[in-house]
């Protein structure tokens, strides 16, 4: 299979150069951009398979790039790459349409692997993102607000189990082995969770910051 073509979007030139160097030879980095406007233009022009996207940038951040590109090029996939581990940042970029979220401390080969998985249509969850999702979907269906779609507002037992393994630091292969299912099935579960994450209107997902206030 041909290596996926990648555009790196980040407002720090030093970081772009670093990621480029790390991904060199692993995937095909075709370009980069340092601002939202520039990124939209470059991505529309280069039509990569995957865009590596910084969450926090001036002028709206990564979510704005997705909004600028996705309507015209629905086939292009986005992988968020950020130093932020604030749940509202993570959840908001996923809900904007990113297919995954990894932190900037990820190693080169791991990042390349994540890019390939996103290019192949899978979702990529970091352990922390898996934790956030479990937190958000904890405690059964949303009580007060009438859920528009109960199927979207809850995780199945299997999905929960897969997420817990991701949060514990297991790779998809290892999870498949432990749960006695195929790696493809693990990926299907993660994709289903991603869909719920993007489409569910659970209270916790929109009001995350308040939910993290944890009074009791």
């Amino acid at each position: 299979m041909k290596e996926p073509r990648v555009v790196i979007v980040d407002d720090h030139a030093l970081f772009r150069a670093g990621v480029r160097a790390e991904l060199d030879g692993l995937v095909d980095v075709v370009g980069d951009a340092g601002s939202v406007g520039d990124a939209i233009a470059r991505v529309l022009e280069l039509e990569p398979d995957v865009v590596l996207l910084d969450v926090q940038m001036p002028d709206g951040g990564g979510a704005e790039v997705i909004r600028g590109v996705a309507p015209q090029r629905p086939a292009i996939r986005f992988l968020a790459l950020s130093v932020s581990d604030a749940p509202d940042d993570v959840i908001s970029i996923i809900r904007a349409g990113a297919r995954g979220y990894v932190t900037k401390t990820i190693s080169g080969p791991e990042l390349a692997d994540a890019v390939r998985r996103v290019a192949g249509g899978d979702a990529v969850f970091s352990p922390r993102l898996a934790g956030f999702v479990l937190d958000a979907f904890a405690g059964g269906p949303a009580p007060a607000a009438a859920p528009a779609d109960p199927e979207l507002d809850q995780l199945t037992a299997r999905e929960r189990e897969v997420l817990r393994h991701i949060a514990r630091g297991y790779l998809y292969k290892e999870i498949a082995l432990r749960l006695g299912i195929s790696a493809k099935t693990v990926e299907a579960h993660v994709s289903a969770v991603l869909r719920k994450l993007q489409l569910s209107n659970r209270h916790e997902l929109s009001r995350w910051a308040v939910q993290r206030g944890w009074v009791e």
Partner: protein
């Protein structure tokens, strides 16, 4: 305070998308309503009794303008015209409005109409000059002599023609007041003074309102600026104390990659804690917070990165303490036997059930081969959990890393 969301932008009259003064364009987004609906509302309120105009004018005056350069039509027209032309226009507008009222059968009488027309001209002149000076006023002019009249803000200075216009406006308003009083016969000594006092108050209000508004606005801006400066100083001080110090230290230790990584990681954690201050759980009050603190301590002491993911939380009671201590021991064990491998800690609390998984990707070991007298895992992890009604399992295989599973169900 639980919501660290960005504060909404201050209410401003917007220049972009403005039709008249930018009131609706500014209010709309702030209230979450389409400006068009607001406009229709104002028009309806105007047709149904005229209150819309008064409301709109009040908003125009009270809501500060967006400082962005103005380019909407009305401002362009007004900006090009001389002050006397604007004042003349206002006079004619007032007159026509009054004539319109007469056409509807509401004639207020000469005693009201002419003073009103005069006062509108004078008022327009004064308000216009106050707007002019706010544009013209520049730091370069800040050394000019202090402003003269009572009630003027000290930063306010007028150019010579402006002062002339203001004087003319004041004369017009005072004249209007006098004409009004004279026409109503209130200047005769033995008449009631209430009317006279009222008229003087209205005239003074017209004269001084622009300066007063500018003064209060100036004070608000000054305060905001002061707060901004303070915050900036605080951020600078913090960066200096922490980040710059660490960077200096890292340059000195550049030869030792492990120590550099540890320094960077500690600084990162500190910075995150500082950034998230206020939105984070209280330190030490809950299991998750205590867990994060304990792991951070181990990271610092041994320079090994450990990732913590916590889902749910519970108060740090006796059982949670035991779970915490066992987790600590398990992490220390992982650090000792798998120092170069990634270590992750996952904690989940659901109702009364708390689980912790400590996993490393180290070499793993043969559990049966561990001598029975080795106290580390057996005593401090397994024993401790059992004493508190929990259980612990160790999953490991040579070459496949180790995972310690701790479960506490009460």
């Amino acid at each position: 305070m639980t919501a660290p969301e960005a504060q909404p932008a201050p209410l401003r009259r917007r220049r972009d998308g403005a039709l008249l003064g930018g009131v609706c364009a500014g209010l709309g987004p702030r209230m979450g309503i389409d400006p068009l609906i607001l406009r229709v509302g104002f028009v309806v309120a105007t047709v149904a009794g005229g209150i819309g105009i008064a409301l709109y004018l009040a908003c125009w005056i009270l809501i500060p303008a967006d400082p962005a350069p103005s380019d909407h039509r009305l401002a362009r027209v007004l900006g090009r015209r001389e002050s006397w032309q604007v004042a003349g226009g206002i006079v004619l507008l007032t007159l026509s409005a009054l004539l319109l009222f007469r056409a509807w059968g509401i004639w207020l009488g000469d005693a009201v109409v002419w003073p009103l027309v005069l006062a509108s001209g004078g008022g327009a002149l004064i308000w216009r000059q106050s707007q002019r000076t706010s544009v013209v006023e520049a730091p370069a002019r800040a050394r000019a002599k202090p402003g003269g009249g009572a009630g003027r803000p000290r930063r306010l200075r007028l150019s010579r023609p402006s002062a002339g216009y203001v004087a003319l406006g004041a004369c017009l308003i005072v004249g209007a007041a006098l004409v009004f009083l004279w026409l109503n016969g209130a200047l005769v000594p033995d008449r009631d003074v209430t009317l006279a006092v009222l008229v003087v108050v209205v005239a003074l209000g017209l004269l001084l309102a622009p300066w007063w508004l500018r003064l209060t606005r100036g004070l608000t801006e000054e305060r905001a600026e002061r707060i901004r400066t303070q915050e900036r100083a605080e951020v600078a001080a913090h960066l200096h104390d922490s980040v710059l110090q660490t960077l200096a230290l890292m340059q000195k230790r550049a030869g030792d990659p492990r120590e550099v990584a540890a320094l960077a990681r500690r600084q990162e954690r500190e910075l995150r804690a500082w950034l998230n201050a206020g939105s984070r759980r209280e330190r030490g009050a809950s299991l998750a917070a205590a867990l994060e603190a304990a792991v951070a301590e181990i990271e610092d002491a041994h320079g090994v990165p450990v990732d913590v993911v916590a889902v749910g939380d519970r108060p740090l009671d006796e059982h949670a303490q035991a779970l915490l201590a066992a987790t600590r021991e398990a992490v220390l064990n992982a650090v000792k036997f798998a120092p170069d491998a990634a270590i992750s800690v996952y904690a989940e609390v659901q109702g009364d059930r708390a689980e912790v998984f400590v996993r490393d990707r180290g070499p793993g070991f043969d559990l049966d081969a561990v001598p029975a007298d080795r106290r580390g895992l057996r005593e401090s992890v397994l024993g401790r959990m059992q004493r508190h009604g929990g259980r612990a399992e160790i999953h490991t295989r040579l070459g496949a890393g180790t995972e310690v599973e701790l479960v506490m169900e009460r």
